[in-house]
């Protein structure tokens, strides 16, 4: 954080000078509001991360609403800024704990949560009219693969060890339309080539405040095909070296399983640090098939593949082929009836649970009244439970449809079996459990969400 504060101070000083010199400030207001309603139609998982407590979110309803305002400020020829404020409603999950719904139903808590969708400054060395290079600092939105509606975006979503994937319907920690990234970004575009260098602070997943260095390059050719690749040196600069490799911690603070004694003198220490690789493509087939009635998104084929941790080590991470998720998507032509109708599919051969329980991050509605049982964040995965078949959740799919009317009002529907991670279930007035794991673990599991929203 010291680096960030120092950089901010320098930027603020520079900005002050720029303002004095240019004194040319204008604003543009943006906003969006939405209401959601949906239902988990089938969820087979019945075991919490502790492997003991029976729970279910099968048939649970989902409802929420929210909104945000953002201001884009033009701060002279070389600077722009953006900040915003948002509020949304968050509710504990309905369902059952210990085969009974009396706790989750009657202790269910719903509350409002405020967030900052944007808070950043951007510098244009060549001027705003010639933005070949930009430097952005703060909290900003970043989406290297805008074709993705739900699955994918592996490079910047989720940890490396364990290789947990993250997705869902406009989940706040995965939604690329709001400022989920905090740090710095340098963007350069020359002709058909563009690339981004990012230095990002981990502010969601424990251990927090580590810095990651990522790079994404993309190239467009034949006006229809875009290919890209990226690398993420995840947690390259740790906030706490001791927390990074928790198995080395002495005394009683070491997480169970964070190290593995293979032979006398040969101990494997698992670490949160790791390297992700990513490749992607987007092919706009309608460039070659002339049809004036097609929507801008129709007939696009896109995909992404990643390696979640290039290093094989220990008994948990000894098969790289189990750490390679791949997804493909296709926008079915609707000839202007819809903005987009996409179908996405994903394969990921990991046989561990898609569960953040060993890291922590319980997505609590309120701070737990009692110790929820999470200790030092551990880089080892959660083993499959009774209901989390090691291969039943390898294939994911998502169907996404959106229709805009009057240019600003959107109707959205998503039906999916993805990595949706519901909020905690209430077990008392304050206490809650769950919230760390994806709950669609079988082929027959799915949920649906609808949204009415507007943006300007």
């Amino acid at each position: 954080m010291r680096v960030f504060v120092l950089f901010s101070a320098v930027m603020a000083a520079g900005l002050g000078l720029s303002f004095a010199a240019e004194n040319d400030v204008s604003f543009q207001l943006h906003g969006q509001g939405w209401t959601d309603r949906g239902r988990i139609m089938s969820s087979s998982d019945r075991v919490l991360g502790d492997g003991i407590t029976a729970y279910s979110v099968d048939g649970s309803p989902i409802q929420s609403l929210g909104g945000q305002f953002t201001l884009d400020a033009s701060l002279g020829e070389h600077w722009s800024g953006a900040f915003g404020l948002g509020v949304y409603q968050v509710t504990q999950s309905y369902g059952s704990v210990g085969e009974a719904s009396n706790y989750t139903e009657w202790f269910n808590t719903s509350m409002w949560r405020a967030y900052v969708p944007q808070a950043n400054l951007t510098y244009y060395p060549g001027g705003r009219d010639n933005p070949w290079l930009t430097v952005t600092a703060g909290t900003f939105a970043y989406d290297y693969n805008p074709d993705v509606k739900n699955l994918g975006l592996y490079l910047l979503r989720g940890p490396v060890y364990p290789g947990v994937l993250m997705s869902g319907f406009r989940e706040f920690d995965t939604d690329t339309s709001i400022g989920t990234q905090t740090g710095f970004k340098i963007h350069n575009a020359v002709g058909n080539f563009s690339h981004d260098l990012l230095f990002l602070n981990e502010r969601v997943l424990p251990p927090t405040f580590d810095w990651s260095l990522a790079y994404v390059a993309k190239y467009r050719l034949f006006k229809a095909l875009e290919v890209g690749a990226g690398v993420n040196f995840y947690r390259l600069v740790p906030y706490s070296t001791a927390l990074e490799t928790p198995g080395r911690l002495g005394g009683g603070t070491a997480s169970p399983g964070s190290y593995e004694v293979r032979a006398p003198g040969d101990t494997v220490f698992y670490t949160h640090q790791g390297t992700k690789l990513m490749g992607m493509f987007s092919l706009d087939l309608k460039r070659w098939i002339s049809s004036g009635r097609m929507s801008a998104q129709d007939l696009k084929l896109y995909g992404e593949v990643a390696v979640i941790g290039v290093k094989d080590y220990g008994s948990y991470y000894n098969k790289i082929q189990e750490r390679i998720p791949a997804m493909a998507g296709f926008n079915i032509p609707t000839f202007g009836i819809l903005d987009v109708l996409s179908i996405e599919g994903e394969w990921y051969g990991s046989h561990y649970r898609n569960d953040l329980a060993n890291l922590g991050y319980p997505r609590s509605i309120v701070a737990p009244w009692q110790d929820p049982g999470f200790g030092t964040p551990s880089p080892v995965p959660v083993s499959p439970g009774t209901y989390a078949d090691s291969v039943a959740d390898n294939i994911k799919w998502s169907v996404f449809a959106q229709k805009t009317v009057a240019r600003h009002i959107q109707f959205t529907l998503q039906v999916a079996n993805d990595h949706y991670r519901p909020n905690q279930l209430g077990t008392a007035f304050v206490n809650a459990v769950g919230g760390t794991q994806a709950v669609l673990t079988a082929k027959k599991d799915w949920y649906m969400m609808g949204r009415i929203g507007f943006s300007f």
Binding site: S26, F27, Q28, L29, G31, Q32, G33, W34, T35, R37, P61, Q63, L65, G66, G67, Q68, F69, L71, L85, G86, V87, Y88, Q89, T91, Y94, A100, S101, N102, E105, W106, N108, S110, M111, W112, R113, A114, V116, I365, V366, V405, A406, R407, H408, I409, F429, V430, I452, G453, F454, F456
Partner: protein, 444 residues
């Protein structure tokens, strides 16, 4: 402003900054739609002078101060001739109810953000005769604009138990409105947020302006018509929670049996449901318009002066033995009158309500277990909370500043103490109980 039972978030400074900035840039939208920025800020303070919370806590709220302040900013956006949308975000400061001195160390303030509105609306003419509107999302709705405090029975609170709630809420759902001349009809599909949440209620409200100065209205609420989980809304013999009662036994005379005997054929087990039907009727009469005068003597009357209004409701069409056996005891009725203030105030109203329910006004059994049976009434003199009253006054200063005050013995629920479940109790349950509050608000 009703205290919101949400998480503490101190975001005062960012929101104030946003208000100032939004005001500054109201004319700088480079958009193809027409935007209007609006907002409000307020500070409210008051005191519960006398209270009665129950046998165990008696007057625990006596002399308790209440205060809150907040801001709200919003935008209405007109996209084209048919579509418009609204978004409003706010933050309100909330103090937990202090209660008795024994728990005063739990008394602390916190800030709660909220979404005041997030809706889209489609407007069109219907058969070139009337206006049709379909609103979807989350939005405010008040069918009785005269009401300052009491009334509003159709949309607020449960049916069984028929505990009356005060305050103004929003509707999460959809509203279809048809207006033609003097007639208006609103059909609402509302997602209930009281537990069990997300049941859908279907509501119809009509208004008809008979002649200038006289408006009549009526409504029906098929409360929880479409339950999310029928077993929660209509629980059968046993509640799924442990804070209330979902069935009881009566003898052949319809009297409550304290110790049921399952082998006794003359005893009958009564089960029921949170679902039910509410009916409402209302009127608003303005003698100024009815009889065509605008002053008394030489004094010019204000727009709201002399307006007489009232509302009646039936909370539940169905009778159940013992607790809901008399429809007359499920009929709240209120009457309000705006005293003549001749422009010195915006209004000065007096509202009175009569509700002869002999059941407890504590709705926590429904809220914590789906119990449609009322909680045991711990007040042996159950009739002493039948009458409610409220005096309200408001005065606008300059163009955008309003000072308002309220003195009342109403259905105030101060909420539970820290981590306390008993938040369904009313704080004012005897004739001598009352509180006052005043508010200074700025809006644009």
């Amino acid at each position: 402003m009703r205290a919101r039972k949400m998480m503490a978030m101190n975001v005062r400074i960012p929101f104030l900054l946003a208000v100032l900035t939004l005001a500054a840039v109201a004319s700088s939208f480079a958009q193809d739609l027409r935007l209007e920025v609006h907002g409000a800020g307020w500070t409210q303070m008051g005191k519960i002078e006398e209270s009665y919370v129950g046998l165990d806590q008696q007057g625990a709220n006596d002399k308790n101060w209440m205060q809150n302040s907040g801001v709200q900013i919003g935008v209405t956006a007109k996209a084209d001739a048919h579509w418009d949308a609204g978004l409003a975000l706010g933050v309100v400061g909330v103090h937990l109810n202090r209660g008795s001195t024994e728990v005063a160390n739990f008394w602390y303030p916190f800030w709660v953000p909220y979404v005041g509105e997030a809706r889209v609306t489609y407007t069109d003419s219907l058969f070139n005769a009337g206006k049709f509107q379909l609103t979807m999302g989350s939005f405010g709705y008040a069918y009785n604009p005269d009401v300052k405090n009491l009334g509003g029975y159709l949309m607020r609170g449960y049916v069984y138990p028929g505990a009356i709630e005060s305050g103004f809420g929003t509707v999460f759902g959809a509203l279809a409105r048809y207006e033609q001349g003097k007639f208006r009809n609103d059909v609402i599909l509302k997602s209930e947020e009281l537990r069990p949440a997300y049941d859908l209620s279907l509501i119809d409200v009509i208004s008809y302006r008979v002649i200038p100065g006289l408006e009549l209205g009526a409504g029906v609420n098929f409360y929880r018509l479409i339950p999310r989980d029928p077993d929660l809304t209509t629980p059968g013999l046993q509640c799924t929670g442990s804070y209330g009662q979902c069935s009881y036994v009566v003898d052949s005379s319809g009297n409550l049996v304290a110790s049921p005997n399952s082998s006794n054929p003359t005893q009958d087990t009564i089960t029921g449901s949170l679902a039910g039907t509410k009916l409402m009727a209302r009127f608003s009469a303005d003698p100024k318009a009815l009889f065509g005068f605008d002053r008394l003597g030489s004094l010019v009357l204000g727009k709201q002066d002399l307006v007489l209004y009232g509302e009646w409701a039936l909370l539940g069409l169905k009778n159940y033995p013992v607790f809901y056996d008399d429809p007359l005891r499920r009929m709240p009725v209120m009457l309000g009158f705006n005293l003549p203030v001749f422009g010195q105030l915006d209004y000065l109203s007096l509202e009175v309500e009569y509700y002869a329910s002999k059941n407890s006004s504590d709705n926590s059994s429904a809220n914590f277990c789906g119990g449609w049976v009322p909680r045991q009434n711990d007040d042996s003199v159950y009739g002493r909370d039948d009458w409610k009253w409220s005096v309200n006054a408001a005065k606008s200063l300059l163009t955008n500043l309003q000072f308002s005050a309220q003195l009342a013995n109403d259905h105030l629920r101060t909420g539970g103490w820290h981590n306390a479940p008993n938040s369904g109790s009313e704080a004012l349950r005897t004739p001598k109980d009352w509180y006052w509050t005043c508010k200074l608000a700025y809006f644009f």
